[in-house]
Amino acid sequence: MPPASPAVEIDGLVMTYGDKVAVDGLSLEVARASITAVLGPNGAGKTTTLETCEGYRVPQRGTVRVLGLDPQRDRGRLLPRIGVMLQSGGAWSGVRAVEMLEHMASLHAHPLEVAMLVDRLGLAECGRTPYRRLSGGQKQRLGLAIALVGRPELVFVDEPTAGMDPQARRTTWAMLEEVRADGVTVVLTTHHMEEAEHLADCIHIIDRGTLIASGTPAELTRGGRSATIRLVVNRPFPDGAPESLRAELGPGTEVRQLDEVSMLIHGPADATTLGRVSRWCEEHAVLPQTLTLGQRTLEDVFLELTGRELAP
């Protein structure tokens, strides 16, 4: 197999559960030794896509290749080469954290040193704690250690930092960056924008089972002739507020109402725009409580593409 082939190739993947379409003709590639984030809201099809790559689910249509192998047909050859961190669970309730990690290490030919992983991921303090009594963040760290312990070429990590405190999140990010530097491919799902922006070489944004944008964080957030203005007011907007505000601001602006007291405005980043927003608020007897002007973020990209916010 040529080393230049992508780590993951998904072509036209379709997955349905009953009459619900979870993945709808998804195609994407993951480069080797990179961190790729699959970003999308809950229910976008991220986990289903990952589980198809991991061999848990049979593609209903389309093809999936992981390290050049078919996760179904070549399962036995593929599994030792990948590491998997499940979104939740995966351990016996009575197993101690380090015991679980040692067990998973013993299934591999050249595992990492368990003590090193325990130390690096801060698991020493809970090493003898039964799994059921670990905190959410500790479970996540143990899950990451389990994914890495077999020295895989490729790791799939599903929501790696969900439930972690900021410090543990930074430790995890640093470790994933080091893993990449050592030549391991990392595929992670997240609905955490900051995580994708901070870590990923490439981001695939999925919504409702389809790929809606791909690129580096810089590519995705570039192209902002505009900035984003976030407006939060003290009482609910009157009916028809977005339309009337758009009319006030003139062409080249987009207005989206997020909830009854907040709106997101994409438009020229200038004082005129801000002035018009203030004036509109005055005319409609609402008081701005937040009026911020920001650079285009992944959040904005997602909002522009889907018309929805990427809720945590």
């Binding site: 351990a91 067990h103 591999h108 050249h110 080091e178």
Partner: protein, 274 residues
């Protein structure tokens, strides 16, 4: 492993190269042993399962012997302890092979353990082999502990024909374990974990009371004719044949073999790993 220069230390403090891929599965033997050790440890660590495995059989044995002693009765010319011990050993086999296996496997499915192992290098048959080894290890441990308790309260197994006793005992334990384990997996693989827990305990209690395990099926009157076809009755009879009469009970062993075939065939068809 080579030592990279210190100035290439990466974020997080360990030198680069730590995570350099070196994938590969361990040998099947090593994986199976690891899995068996793990499952056996977890079985023995679990308080409820220890209760089933050791405490209840000991209570049945010691309590039964004491009660029979007060009543001054013997059964079919045998001391109560001699008749009760094979039944209690059968009960121990049943509790671990059926109830403990069902509950443990049901919760392994619920907690995603089987799912995680499904993405590890351990193949499905390795997982199954590990389970079997763990089960046999725990059963052996139970039998030793219970035999020691029985000997201290005066148990005298038949010495008429030791080769038959040993062969009959090994066959009964082996086939009894496989029959009950296949039925336990059938329950665990089809029902939700909570339903498995309830059903496995209920069946255990029903068979303990009326399944011909502890007491000879002959003591159940007319129902005994039916009970001897149950895996519990067959296991109890086969154990008593070996340890009381130094005999190999071919019919009971065949009944256990048939239950094994039925249980494993149905399990293979219905078991859902997740």
């Amino acid at each position: 492993m080579s030592t990279p220069p210190a100035d290439t230390a990466a974020v997080g403090g360990s030198p680069t190269g730590t995570f350099t891929p070196a994938p590969g599965r361990a040998g099947l033997g090593r994986m199976v042993r690891a899995q068996a050790r793990m499952e056996a440890r977890l079985l023995l660590r679990n308080g409820e399962q220890l209760l089933l495995a050791i405490v209840i059989p000991v209570i049945v044995l010691v309590g039964g012997v004491a009660a029979a002693g007060r009543l001054g009765s013997t059964f079919e010319g045998h001391a109560p302890v001699d008749l009760l011990t094979p039944g209690v050993l059968a009960l121990a086999v049943m509790s671990t092979s059926f109830t403990s296996v069902a509950i443990a496997t049901g919760f392994e499915r619920r907690y995603g353990v089987i799912k995680l192992l499904g993405s590890s290098p351990l193949p499905r048959h390795g997982l199954l082999l590990g389970k079997v080894l763990a089960l046999l290890g725990v059963v052996a441990l139970q039998l030793v502990v219970l035999a020691v308790v029985a000997l201290t309260v005066g148990w005298q197994p038949s010495t008429a024909d030791p080769p038959s006793t040993v062969a009959g005992l090994l066959l009964a334990v082996g086939l009894g374990t496989s029959a009950f384990a296949s039925l336990g997996l059938l329950v665990a693989g089809a029902l939700r974990a909570e339903a498995t827990l309830a059903l496995a305990n209920l069946v255990y209690l029903l068979l303990l009371a009326g399944g011909g395990v502890v007491l000879p099926t002959g003591t159940y009157g007319a129902a005994g004719g039916l009970i001897q076809w149950l895996p519990s009755g067959a296991l109890g009879e086969a154990m008593r044949a070996a340890l009381v009469h130094a005999d190999i009970d071919g019919r009971s062993l065949l009944v256990l073999a048939a239950w094994t075939v039925v249980g494993s065939t149905l399990t293979a068809r219905t078991f859902r790993w997740e």
